[in-house]
C-alpha cells in the first residue's frame, strides 16, 4: 500500500503530541464545501506481485522486433555497466545537488559530463542537461534571441531538414515569446540545405540560423558554408547535432563560421529507447554566452580547507534566484540520464565512440546498398550521409511497413506525413546493433513484399 511505516500506536502518540483527536482534524482548514471524501476512479491497490504480473504482460505486448527506425532516437548497445551503476540508490534517489557537500558524487559527475559535452561539440562550456533534444532546441532559439539583442525581428531561419518534431516543439514554445520560425528549404537533389537558399535573406534582420548536422534525412550539411554565411552577418548559429556523430564529424565549434549554441538529443549516449523518454537534451556554448545559458551548471571550487570540490554555480541565471527574469523556467532536468551518459562516454572513450559512429555509418551504407538493389527502391538523396538515409519506393510506404511488421521487422519511418513532397519516402537507419544478417533479413523481406504486391 502506501509505504507508510506508522503503527497504530505511533499514530496515537503523534496525534497526542499534536493535540488533535484524529488525523481528519489535520485537514480542518480545508473549506468543508470543497472537501473530498475518498477517491473514486482509482481502484483498489494491487500488491507488488500483482502489479508485476500486470506489467510483465503489458511489456510482452510490445515484443522485440528488428528495428530500422531512427529519426531522432537510436538503438545502440548500452553497456551493462551503465545502468548497473546509474541505478544505484545514491544516484537514483537523491535530489538536485543543492546541498553541495552532501552531493559531491552527482556534482562531480556533472562536471565531468560538462567537460565531455563541451569537448565533443567544440565549445567552451556545457550545462547539466535540458529535457530532450527538441526542447533544448527551443531553448537554444530563445537563448540566441537573448544573445543577439541587436536583432529586433525575432526571425529565426530554420532549415526544413531539421527534425520536424524539433521544429514543432520549438514552435509551441518559442511562439509564446513571439519568435518567428522561418523555414529554409532543402535541396531536393542532395537533401542538403544550400547556402544559396540563405542568400535570399542577405541584408535582412535575422536573429539566428539553425541547422542540423547530420540533418533529419541523415544527410551531411555544408556546415562550413552555412555557418560562415551567418558569421559574416553576425547572426548566431544554432547547431543541432547527434552526439555519436561528433566522434567522426567536425564539431560545430570548428565549423568555418563556428556555432554559438550547440544542442542535441543525448539519448544515443547510453539511454534506452523507452518509447521516447526519459532522454536528455544537452547544450553547449561559448564562454561569452554562459550567462545566457539556461539550465544548471556545476563548477569546481574549493572548500574551507582549500580542497577542491564541486557546487552548482551561476545560479543567478535560474528561476529559483532570478524568478521572472531567469534564462528559463527549467528546474528539474534529466540528471540521471546525464549520469548514465557520463558512464557511457567513459566506457567508450574517444576510440570506442569513433568505432560506434563508424560502425553505424558502415552499416547504413550496407543497408542502403542492399535495399537499392531491390527493384522499386532508390536512394532519394545524393549527398554523403551519417547513419540514416531516405529511400524512395515505387508505391505508398505505409502498407509496405505493415507487411514487414507482420514479419517482425520495423522497416523505417514513413515520411509522407511530414514531407509529402518527397513522395513515397522512407527514412531508414542501421546502427552498430545491426548485423549483415539482419540487413539481409530486411532486404529479403522488403524484396518479397514489393514483389508480392507487384504480382497482386
Amino acid at each position: 500500500m502506501a509505504f507508510i511505516p506508522h503503527t497504530a500506536a505511533d499514530v496515537e502518540e503523534m496525534l497526542a503530541v499534536i493535540g488533535v483527536a484524529s488525523v481528519e482534524q489535520l485537514f480542518d482548514e480545508i473549506p468543508p464545501s470543497v472537501r473530498a471524501r475518498g477517491l473514486a476512479g482509482i481502484g483498489d491497490a494491487l500488491n507488488e506481485m500483482e502489479v508485476t504480473r500486470l506489467m510483465m504482460s503489458r511489456a510482452a505486448s510490445c515484443g522485440f522486433a528488428l528495428s530500422f527506425i531512427g529519426a531522432g532516437a537510436y538503438e545502440h548497445h548500452i553497456p551493462a555497466a551503465v545502468w548497473a551503476i546509474a541505478a544505484r540508490g545514491e544516484f537514483y534517489s537523491s535530489y538536485t545537488p543543492y546541498q553541495a557537500e552532501a552531493s559531491q558524487g552527482t556534482l562531480q559527475a556533472i562536471y565531468e559530463f560538462q567537460t565531455m559535452i563541451a569537448s565533443l561539440s567544440g565549445m567552451d562550456v556545457a550545462n547539466a542537461s535540458l529535457y530532450d533534444g527538441a526542447s533544448a532546441f527551443a531553448e537554444a532559439l530563445l537563448m540566441a534571441a537573448r544573445i543577439n539583442r541587436k536583432s529586433k525581428s525575432l526571425r529565426m531561419l530554420v532549415s526544413r531538414a531539421v527534425h520536424p518534431h524539433y521544429r514543432a516543439v520549438a514552435r509551441s514554445i518559442t511562439s509564446l515569446q513571439g519568435l518567428n520560425l522561418e523555414e529554409v528549404e532543402y535541396d531536393a537533389a542532395s537533401g542538403r540545405t544550400l547556402v544559396d537558399s540563405l542568400r535570399a535573406h542577405d541584408g535582412e534582420d535575422i536573429t539566428a540560423l539553425a541547422i542540423q548536422q547530420p540533418n533529419f534525412f541523415g544527410v551531411l550539411e555544408e556546415v562550413d558554408g552555412l555557418s560562415e554565411w551567418a558569421r559574416r552577418r553576425a547572426i548566431p548559429v544554432i547547431a543541432v547535432v547527434n552526439p555519436i556523430s561528433l566522434a567522426l564529424l567536425r564539431p560545430p565549434g570548428e565549423w568555418r563560421g563556428g556555432a554559438d549554441v550547440v544542442v542535441g538529443e543525448g539519448q544515443p549516449l547510453g539511454v534506452p529507447l523507452s518509447s521516447g523518454g526519459p532522454y536528455f537534451g544537452f547544450m553547449a556554448t561559448r564562454m561569452a554566452h554562459v550567462r545566457q545559458m539556461p539550465g544548471r551548471i556545476a563548477g569546481r571550487t574549493v572548500d574551507l580547507a582549500g580542497h577542491e570540490g564541486f557546487t552548482l554555480t551561476l545560479q543567478a541565471r535560474e528561476q529559483h534566484i532570478r524568478r521572472g527574469r531567469a534564462t528559463s523556467n527549467i528546474c528539474t532536468n534529466q540528471g540521471l540520464m546525464v549520469t548514465a551518459a557520463t558512464l557511457y562516454l567513459s566506457l567508450m572513450g574517444p576510440q570506442g565512440l569513433r568505432r560506434v559512429a563508424a560502425a553505424c555509418h558502415a552499416r547504413t551504407r550496407a543497408l542502403v546498398e542492399a535495399l537499392v538493389r531491390i527493384p522499386g527502391v532508390r536512394a532519394a538523396f545524393a549527398a554523403p550521409r551519417f547513419h540514416e538515409a531516405v529511400l524512395q519506393l515505387d508505391r505508398p510506404v505505409a502498407p509496405v511497413l505493415a507487411a514487414l511488421e507482420r514479419r517482425e521487422i520495423l522497416a523505417g519511418l514513413d515520411l509522407a506525413p511530414d514531407y509529402p513532397e518527397l513522395g513515397h519516402a522512407l527514412l531508414v537507419c542501421a546502427t552498430e546493433t545491426k548485423t549483415a544478417a539482419d540487413i539481409q533479413v530486411y532486404a529479403s523481406a522488403l524484396g518479397e513484399a514489393l514483389e508480392a504486391r507487384t504480382a497482386a
Binding site: 500500500m1 567537460t115 523518454g277 524568478r323 558512464l343 567508450m348 572513450g349 520495423l410
Partner: protein, 496 residues
C-alpha cells in the same frame, strides 16, 4: 568506506587504455565522409578500463546523500521512498527496447498504462482531461499558462497577458509566466500565510490572464479562502492555475477542480514517487477542466474500442502543440503508473494523511523544543517552516549553518531560504514514508545544534565537518568559473 575525494575520471585516463568489450568491431568499409566534414582531433573523453569506470562512478555515488541512505526532509521536494518495484517494472526489457516511432500496434501495453494514468490523474484532481507530455513541473506550468493564453486568444481577448503570482510562489511560476511572454504580477501574502484578498482584488482586471497558486501554498499552509479567490479571479475573467508540484497533502482530501481551478500540473517525481535522480528526470503531467481541453498539448492517449492511440495535431487542431520530441518521459510515467496501482485509492488517501501527520508532529515537537515556527496558529500541510531568525540574531548562526550542520548528523538539510519571505527559514517536508523514530531523531539533532549554536557557534558556522568536503566556496565558484576540466591547468587544491 566512501573515499573522501575521488579524482576526476580524466585523471584515470591513459592513452591506449579502454573498455574494449564495449566497442563494436572496426568496420571494413571506408568512411564516405568528405575530409572537410571530418573531425580533426578526437574529443576529450577519458581512456579508461571498464573497472576504472565502474570503480570511479561507484565511489562517486557513495559521496551522495540519498533517500536510500538518509532522511531527506527537503521542503517542496517530497523526497519520499521510491519503490524499487517502480524502477524494475518500468524497465522491463521490452519497455526499454521500444522505439518511440514504432507502430502503436506494438506498444499497446505502454499506451494502456499511459491512458489509465491519465484517467487516474483526472480522478485525483477532478479535472476532465490530462496530458502526460510535459517533462517536468516547469514544463507542465508552461503548458498550463500557454493553454490559458491560448484560451483567451481563441476568444479574441488579446489583452489578457498578466499572470498573478503570490510572493511566496515557487520560482518556476514567475519564470514560466515570463517564458510564456506574459507579465508577472506579484501579490503579497498576509501574516497568516493566506493570500492578501484585498491585494488580489486590486490586482485583477481586464489584463488578467490568470493566477498561479499552489494550495497548500509553499508556506506549508492551506489557502483557506480559496473559494473566494477563485470567485474573484473568475469574475474578473481570469483563469486559475494550480501548481500541483506538491499534491502529497491533498490526495483524497480536496480536488483542485473542486476548489475552482481550471488547470493543474502535477510533479509525478514528487507526489507519485518517481525518483529525482540527482536532478531529474521528472514528469509534469497537466490536467484541465472542460474550458481548456481543446488546448491540451499533444500527444494524448485515447482508447478507441480495444485499441489505444495517441492523438496528434490532426485530432486536436487547437492544441498548444508538442512539447517533447516524442511522448515525454514515458519511463517516468510508467513508474508513476506502477506506484499508483500499488497504492490504490485507499493508499493515496493514506499518503496525504500520514504526510500531514508527520509534518504536524514535527511542527509540534519543534515548537515544543523552542523553535519558532513560521505560522504557529496554522495547521501544517505536508511541510512546515521554521525560522531561525532568533538564532541568527543571537548567535550569528544562520539557517544555512544549521542546514550544513544537520549533514554532520547524517540527515539531509531541509530547504533553506525558501520561501523567500520568511527570513532564515527552513522548509521541512518529512513525507509519509518516514517513521516517527526518524522524526524524533531529527528533532533531537535540531535541539543539539541549537545548543551548539549557543555554546560553540563556530562549530556550526564551519559545518559540515564529517563530509567528503568542508563547506564549499560558492562565491569563488561563480567568480572564478571552472566549468570544464582543462588537462593543462592545475587543480585548485594543488597550488603551484
Amino acid at each position: 568506506m566512501a573515499p573522501r575525494q575521488e579524482p576526476l575520471i580524466f585523471q584515470y585516463s591513459r592513452a591506449g587504455r579502454g573498455a574494449v568489450d564495449q566497442w563494436p568491431r572496426e568496420p571494413d568499409t571506408p568512411l564516405e565522409i568528405p575530409r572537410e566534414l571530418q573531425r580533426p582531433r578526437p574529443p576529450l573523453l577519458p581512456e579508461v578500463s571498464e573497472l576504472d569506470a565502474v570503480r570511479h562512478f561507484t565511489r562517486l555515488s557513495q559521496l551522495n546523500f540519498s533517500i536510500d541512505t538518509h532522511f531527506y526532509p527537503l521542503g517542496s521536494c517530497t523526497m519520499k521512498y521510491n519503490p524499487k518495484a517502480c524502477n524494475a517494472l518500468a524497465t522491463l526489457p521490452q519497455f526499454l527496447a521500444r522505439h518511440p516511432l514504432a507502430p502503436e500496434s506494438r506498444g499497446q501495453g505502454v499506451l494502456a498504462c499511459l491512458h489509465e494514468l491519465q484517467e487516474m490523474l483526472c480522478a485525483l484532481t477532478g479535472m476532465q482531461a490530462a496530458a502526460l507530455g510535459p517533462m517536468a513541473g516547469a514544463q507542465g506550468e508552461l503548458a498550463g499558462v500557454a493553454m490559458i493564453l491560448a484560451h483567451h486568444r481563441s476568444r479574441g481577448d488579446l489583452a489578457r497577458r498578466e499572470i498573478i503570482v503570490p510572493q511566496a510562489a515557487h520560482g518556476t511560476n514567475p519564470a514560466t509566466a515570463s517564458m510564456c511572454g506574459a507579465t508577472v504580477r506579484e501579490i503579497p501574502v498576509g501574516a497568516d500565510g493566506d493570500v492578501d484578498i484585498e491585494a488580489l482584488r486590486a490586482a485583477v482586471g481586464p489584463a488578467t490572464a490568470g493566477i498561479m497558486l499552489t494550495n497548500p501554498s509553499t508556506l506549508g499552509v492551506f489557502e483557506r479562502r480559496i473559494v473566494e479567490v477563485a470567485e474573484i479571479v473568475h469574475a474578473a475573467g481570469g483563469l486559475l492555475y494550480y501548481d500541483g508540484a506538491n499534491l502529497n497533502a491533498i490526495l483524497g482530501k480536496v480536488r483542485p477542480a473542486d476548489m475552482g481551478f481550471d488547470v493543474i500540473h502535477m510533479n509525478l517525481h514528487k507526489t507519485f514517487s518517481t525518483p529525482h535522480g540527482g536532478g531529474g528526470p521528472g514528469a509534469g503531467a497537466v490536467g484541465v477542466g472542460p474550458l481548456l481541453e481543446p488546448f491540451l498539448p499533444i500527444p494524448i492517449v485515447v482508447r478507441e474500442a480495444d485499441h489505444y492511440r495517441s492523438l496528434t495535431e490532426r485530432d486536436r487542431p487547437r492544441t498548444i502543440g508538442r512539447l517533447s520530441a516524442f511522448m515525454g518521459n514515458v519511463g517516468v510515467l510508467l513508474r508513476a503508473y506502477v506506484y499508483m496501482r500499488l497504492l490504490g485509492s485507499e493508499g493515496l488517501s493514506q499518503v496525504a494523511e500520514h504526510a500531514a501527520l508527520n509534518a504536524n508532529y514535527l511542527l509540534a515537537r519543534l515548537a515544543g523544543a523552542g523553535f519558532e515556527v513560521a505560522y504557529p496558529s496554522r495547521r501544517a500541510s505536508h511541510e512546515l517552516i521554521v525560522t531561525l531568525e532568533r538564532q541568527a540574531r543571537d548567535s550569528e548562526v544562520t539557517a544555512m549553518d544549521f542546514a550544513k550542520r544537520l549533514l554532520d548528523y547524517g540527515m539531509h538539510a531541509p530547504t533553506t531560504y525558501f520561501p523567500l519571505l520568511v527570513p532564515e527559514c527552513l522548509l521541512i517536508e518529512p513525507t509519509e514514508t518516514e517513521s516517527k523514530e526518524t522524526l524524533d531523531a531529527f528533532v533531537a539533532a535540531m535541539v543539539s545544534i541549537a545548543r551548539e549554536a549557543r555554546e560553540d557557534p563556530e562549530r556550526v558556522r564551519r559545518a559540515p565537518h564529517t563530509l567528503p568536503v568542508r563547506r564549499l566556496d560558492d562565491v569563488r565558484a561563480a567568480k572564478q568559473l571552472d566549468l570544464t576540466w582543462d588537462p593543462d591547468a592545475r587543480a585548485p587544491d594543488r597550488p603551484g
